[in-house]
C-alpha cells in the first residue's frame, strides 16, 4: 500500500489537511461508537427499568459461563472452521484449474466464480433455502434416485453449504493471485526432469499457493464467524450463531449491555485470530524469501 514516490512535503503540513476530514470522521464514527459500546457492555441491565448507570462485569460472566451462550460460541467456531477447511479444499484446486485455462475461458470462469460476490447475500441465501427446503430441488433429485428425503433446511449442514458458497470467491481470489506469480515453465521443468504430477504439485505449486491460502482462510474464517444472514435464514430459530444472538439480544430481548458484551467478544476474538494469523503469514513469507 505504501507510496511509490514520496516527496518531501512542501511548506504546510499538506497531508494533514488532506487527511483531516476522513480522520475526524473515522475517530467520531468508528472509534467513538466502539468505545461507547465497550462501556455499554459493562453497564448493569435491569429487566424492568433498562440500562442502569452502574457498572459490572456480570454481562461478560453470564456470556462466558452460561451453557446457552457457550454452545453458541462453540457452534460459531466449529462452523466457521469447517467452512474454512472446505473452502480451502474446493477453492485451491479451482484457482489452480483457472490458472491453467486458455484465453477466453479463464476470464469467463473467473467472472462466474467471483461475480456472485456482487450479488446480495440475502438473495444467495434465499436461493439456498429453496434448494435445500423440504420441497426443494435437492430432495426432488433424491426422490428421483429413489432415496429418502433429508431434512437439510434449519440444520448446520445447510448453514455450512451456504457459507462455503458465499466464501468461495474470498479463497479463489488470493490463491489465484498467488499462483499468477508462479512461472508455468518451472512446473514444466519439474515434470520433464522426471517428477510425477503429484510431486510437481506438492513441491512447486502448493508452496506457491500457501500464502494465498493463508490470507484467504483468514478472510473466510473472520467473515464466517460473524455471518448474519445465513444462520438467520437457514438456521431457523433454534440454531443460533454469534451474530444472530447479538441481534436477538439487541432487538428482541432489548438487553443491550449483554448484546454489547457478545459483540465485543466477537470483535476481540476476531482481532486476536487476525494478529496470530498475520504473525504466521509473515513467518511463512520470510521463509519463502529465504
Amino acid at each position: 500500500m505504501t507510496g511509490a514516490a514520496i516527496r518531501p512535503s512542501p511548506r504546510l503540513p499538506a497531508p494533514f489537511f488532506l487527511a483531516a476530514p476522513a480522520t475526524l470522521l473515522f475517530i467520531g464514527l468508528i472509534l467513538l461508537p466502539l468505545a461507547l459500546t465497550a462501556v455499554l457492555s459493562f453497564n448493569v441491565y435491569d429487566y424492568s427499568s433498562g440500562v442502569q448507570n452502574r457498572y459490572t462485569t456480570a454481562n461478560y460472566l453470564t456470556v462466558l459461563q452460561d451453557p446457552y451462550y457457550l454452545a453458541i460460541f462453540w457452534r460459531t467456531l466449529r462452523l466457521a472452521l469447517l467452512t474454512t477447511v472446505i473452502t480451502v479444499l474446493l477453492g485451491t484446486p479451482e484457482a489452480y484449474i483457472l490458472t491453467r485455462m486458455g484465453k477466453p475461458w479463464r476470464s469467463i470462469f473467473l467472472l462466474v466464480i467471483i461475480g456472485p460476490l456482487l450479488v446480495s447475500v440475502v438473495v444467495r441465501t434465499f436461493g439456498w433455502s429453496m434448494l435445500l427446503g423440504h420441497d426443494g430441488l435437492v430432495n426432488h433429485a433424491l426422490a428421483m434416485l429413489r432415496l429418502e428425503p433429508v431434512q437439510l433446511l434449519y440444520t448446520e449442514t445447510a448453514i455450512v453449504i451456504a457459507l462455503v458458497h458465499i466464501m468461495l470467491p474470498f479463497m479463489v481470489i488470493p490463491v489465484w493471485t498467488a499462483l499468477q506469480k508462479l512461472d508455468p515453465t518451472v512446473e514444466a521443468a519439474a515434470l520433464s526432469l522426471g517428477a510425477s504430477r503429484f510431486t510437481a504439485l506438492r513441491r512447486i505449486v502448493f508452496p506457491q499457493a500457501t500464502l494465498g491460502i493463508l490470507s484467504g482462510s483468514l478472510i473466510v474464517f473472520g467473515l464466517s464467524a460473524s455471518a448474519f444472514a445465513i444462520p438467520g435464514l437457514l438456521g431457523g430459530r433454534r440454531l443460533k450463531m454469534a451474530a444472530t444472538v447479538v441481534y436477538d439480544e439487541y432487538l428482541i430481548e432489548l438487553n443491550w449491555p449483554l448484546g454489547a458484551a457478545i459483540a465485543i467478544i466477537v470483535l476481540l476474538a476476531n482481532l486476536a485470530i487476525m494478529l496470530a494469523y498475520n504473525r504466521m503469514v509473515e513467518r511463512q513469507a520470510k521463509r519463502r524469501l529465504g
Partner: protein
Amino acid sequence: MQKNGLFALAFHSLIVLFVLAPLIVVCLVAFTPQNTLSLPWDGVSLRWFSAVFHHPDFVASFWNSARLALFSATISTTLAVPSALAITRYSFKGRDALNALFLSPLIIPHLVIGVAFLRLFSFIGATGSFGWLVAAHVMVIMPYALRLILAALNGMDLSAEMAARTLGAGEWTVFRRITFPMLLPGISGGWLLAFINSFDELTMSIFVTAPSTITLPVRMYMYASESIDPMMAAVSTLMIALTGITMIILDRLFGLDQLLVGKG
C-alpha cells in the same frame, strides 16, 4: 501451458454448478404462475414481478437503498481521494496508522459496527435519520473506494505531474489538470464498488434502519424470515439482473478481474 485433465474439468464443472445453482433456481422460480415456490413447469408468468412493483414497501425500500447508495458512495469517494493523496504522496508520522484506521472497517465485523452505530445513534438521538444512515454507510464503504484509488495512485506515472510543475503550474492546477484526469478510472471504479457495497449491505443496516429508512436488503431479509412466496424470488431476480448489468459495465470499463482481484 499445460491443459487441465478430465478429472480437473469435471471438478471445475461441479464448482461452477455449485456457484450458479442458487442463482439459477431463484431466477426460474420467479417466473412461476403458482402461489408456492415451484419451478415453472407448466407455463411462465410475470405475475410475481408485477406483484413486486405493486408492493409499496419493496418499492419504497428500493428507492431508499438507491438514494442511500448514491449519497454514501459519492461522499466516501470524495473523502477517499484526498486521504489517498495524503497516504501515497507524503511521508509523515503515523501514516501507516492512518492507513490502518481507514481500512479498519474491512476487519471489524459489520455486526459490531452496526451495534456500535446503534449505541451512538441512541446516544445522540439520531435513530431513524436518513442523514446519519448515510454517514454509517460512508464509513463501511469508504475502504473499498480507498483501496482502488490507492492502487491507482501507486501505479501512476509521475512524469506528467513533474513536467507540469516544472512549467510553473501550481499545486491545484496540477491536481485539476493532470492528477485528477489520470486518476478518474480509479475514482469511478471505486465509486461503483462503494455503491454496490452500500446497496447490498445488510448486517450493519439491520441495526440502524428505522421503519422509515429500511433498505432493500433489510426489507428482503425480514420478508424472507417471515413468509416465503415467489415474490421474494421475483425481487431477487431483479437484484440479480441489476447486479449483472453493473457487472458488465464494470467489466467493460475496467475489467472486473482487475477490480475485484487487484493486479494479478
